[in-house]
Amino acid sequence: MCRLSRTFVGLCALLAGSACTPEPAQPPVSVASGSGAGTMAVAAPPETTPSATRIGSTARNIGTLDDIEELSVAIAAERRPSGYFGYGDPATPEQIAGWDIDVRPDGKGLPPGSGTAEQGEALYEEKCSTCHGVFGEGEGRWPKLAGDEPLTGERPEKTVGNYWPYASTLWDYVHRAMPFYEPQSLSDDEVYSVVAYVLYLNELIEYDFELNQSNLAAVEMPNRDGFFVDPRPDVVNAVCMEDCKNPDDIRITWDSTELGVTPTQHFQDDVADAAAPAAVASATLDDAVGQRVYDQACKTCHGPGLAGAPVVGDAPAWAARRDQGLDVLVRHAVEGFQGEAGYMPAKGGQVQLGDDEVAAAVSYMLQNSGAAD
């Protein structure tokens, strides 16, 4: 094995070395510092118990495996000239242009185009306000966009205005990921317009200010100097083993069970959980599919009633829609629909769903709203 190639020389040397000349057992600890009463500064724990003895031997043996893993990575990443493997195809300028969507604080990556808050207002109200609120105040747990409250208060809400350091970040993000259910659907001018409107909501530009490729990077964000590079490690704890604190001083400051805000049914007092599969099996297949798809794609809006969506359980609202005909209802859900009450994205934005899955979800919502035939 060791004659196979030069590549393996290092590996063989390592294996031979560990087999023939095992390293002396090292103390398993090297703690840099520690001070104060009862603190054991550097030393290893006293190796008097059987388990302590095993730490040393285990660490030595496993260290060998670990080194092999690292070495194999090093071999695979061995330095080679560019183009050595010759895999892949050249990326053409046209291909790159189609995918290279990122924008930097210096404006690099911004495409030609422009827009004003005035132009963005209607678009924002149609596509954004459902989640982010008409004034950027944020609906429910959806992100708040506008506000200038100080970041030093209790539970400060971070917004574009009080936290985001660069306007370019807003342009980049709206363009790549918004609207939530239809990412990368806005034209460049629409992105400029919506970004202008969000900046306007934060009182950072005027209503009629034209934002464009050449001036966006110059928009000064209030918190542009609010960030500094991570200084961790920022705390130093000590390895204390005995009399580290006075037992009489210990008090419980928080007990999670007093709040009772997390699910615990799966491990406490819920026998029905264990019998759940039988219940699922007794339901029809369509019901199961409908519920799964509902949970996955519909519940976000049809649960709380976002975007004018009829809430599941609201019998009159669903009866009115059912009366249009089930086929119409399913078609709207599959293809998307702009109604008077609100906007239904095609398949709830989850285009990978089959039409029959969407139909099952529609049926599920009707049944659970007392509006099934």
């Binding site: 398993p28 990326a91 290279d100 790549r176 990412p183 500094f228 007990d255 491990f267 007794s282």
Partner: protein, 437 residues
């Protein structure tokens, strides 16, 4: 709550459920209702007699019959008795399941590898379904030759396999102010550890030839959130991997199928999933997930940026709220420790709230930037106890107390809370998540 130890109650419940499964629906409900009363009334003998037919000296039916044949289940799944061991979420944490988090059931996992179906989920735009034949990785920007790779191209490169953890930096982030998660799955479950296979990013960067002025790299996903993060070139050339397989099989869709980035030891969000593009540049991009999110707000109103590393952390996985103690006697306290800076060197355990500590046995593989399992034998006297673990990594960094972190960072920074964690064991064996001073 009954006064039975939690573990004993759960056993009874499992038995009852098992028996109930054999009954028609109406009888099952009645049986479960009665069974609960029995269990609560401590009539242990009556409750267990239901299953005695399958216990020694009796011979159970599965020994007197044959089971299902090969490929009845072409892709194997866990026993139906393990159906409760699943990813779970806390619904109020996020606005929508499409941009949300689920947690790994750490309380029932063994060793250091997380099974693929239990790796925690974090999506910003849901899980895309990508045909690998139509997936491409574009590498461009400040390079000699911009290239587009197919999956076949990428899998021809010399590959590596490493065991590394991935942790969301918000793991534990709901508890800066106080304890509110009532289960280990929710206090620490944004954490998983797999064997990852792929191409070292350094190999791909050598293949395209990185220009001398390049200092940063933008990694971008093909999902509906277009997830994007700036990675410094030093990290990319150090140990980043472009990954296509986990635990021996192709990546799960939830983990970025068919291709993801892995930045070992760094906050999970930088390990961009559904990776479609790498662009080399001379400055960071300051995108949404490295400004608005994944920055750490300090009490003075300023915020830490580029806070990538997941510092040394540990937690006791047995006992825990989901796995209470039963009768007094000998137990092995078990747990997990991990460090984004390298190997775990040592773990100490306290059963008295940090007054005194004993060194735990570190078990099995001790790999850099991987989950490391520890255990300590303990003779429980049946009384109250406060359990804690404290890990030390090979750099000498000692896992801090929550008081230390709060003093340095306040309580608004959300991310990177790696404090020593406390479980309270009550008389009777129930375990709850608490914070102490």
């Amino acid at each position: 709550m009954s006064d039975k130890p939690a573990g004993q109650r759960r056993d009874l419940k499992a038995l009852l459920a098992q028996e109930a499964g054999k009954l028609p629906q109406p009888e099952r409900r009645a049986f479960l209702a009665n069974g609960l009363t029995l269990a609560g009334g401590a009539m242990l003998g009556s409750a267990t007699s239901a299953a005695a037919a399958n216990l020694p000296p009796e011979v159970p039916p599965w020994t007197r019959s044959v089971g299902r044949g090969v490929v009845t289940v072409p892709y194997g799944m866990p026993s139906r008795y393990e159906q409760d061991i699943v990813r779970r979420t806390v619904p109020w944490l996020t606005a929508s399941a499409i941009s949300s988090i689920s947690f790994t059931p750490l309380h029932r996992l063994k060793g250091i590898i997380t099974p693929n179906g239990l790796v925690f989920e974090r999506y910003h735009g849901g899980v895309p379904e990508i045909d690998p034949a139509e997936h491409r990785l574009m590498v461009h920007g400040l390079v000699d030759r911009p290239l587009i790779f197919t999956m076949d191209d990428l899998m021809r490169f010399p590959s590596v396999s490493v065991i590394r953890f991935i942790e969301c930096p918000a793991n534990g982030g709901m508890e800066w102010r106080g304890a509110q998660m009532e289960a280990l799955q929710f206090t620490h479950g944004m954490l998983s550890c797999c064997e990852w296979t792929g191409v070292p990013l350094a190999t791909l960067l050598q293949e395209v030839g990185v220009s001398a002025e390049a200092k940063w790299l933008l990694a971008e996903g093909a999902d509906g959130s277009g997830m994007s993060r700036s990675i410094p070139l030093e990290k990319a050339l150090d140990d980043s991997i472009v990954v296509y397989a986990q635990n021996g099989e192709m990546l799960r869709p939830e983990q970025g199928y068919p291709l993801r980035l892995l930045n070992p030891g760094w906050e999970g969000n930088t390990s961009v999933k559904w990776l479609r593009r790498l662009e080399l540049g001379d400055a960071a991009w300051y995108h949404r997930e490295e400004t608005s999110k994944y920055t750490d707000l300090m009490p003075d109103g300023r915020a830490r940026k580029f806070s990538w590393v997941q510092e040394t952390n540990s937690v006791i996985t047995f006992p825990c709220p989901e796995n209470g103690l039963k009768q007094a006697g000998k137990y092995e306290i078990e747990g997990l420790a991990w460090s984004g800076r390298g190997r775990i060197k040592r773990v100490d355990v306290s059963v008295d709230g940090g007054v005194s500590w004993r060194s735990a046995r570190v078990k099995g593989l001790i790999l850099p930037k991987a989950l490391t399992r520890f255990g300590l034998e303990w003779d429980w006297d049946g009384g109250p106890a406060l359990l804690q673990s404290r890990a030390v990594d090979e750099t000498g960094y000692v896992q801090p107390t929550l008081a230390q972190l709060r003093e340095a960072r306040g309580v608004e920074s959300i991310y990177h809370k790696n404090a020593i964690h406390t479980w309270r064991v009550a008389e009777g064996g129930g375990v709850t998540n608490v914070q102490i001073e």
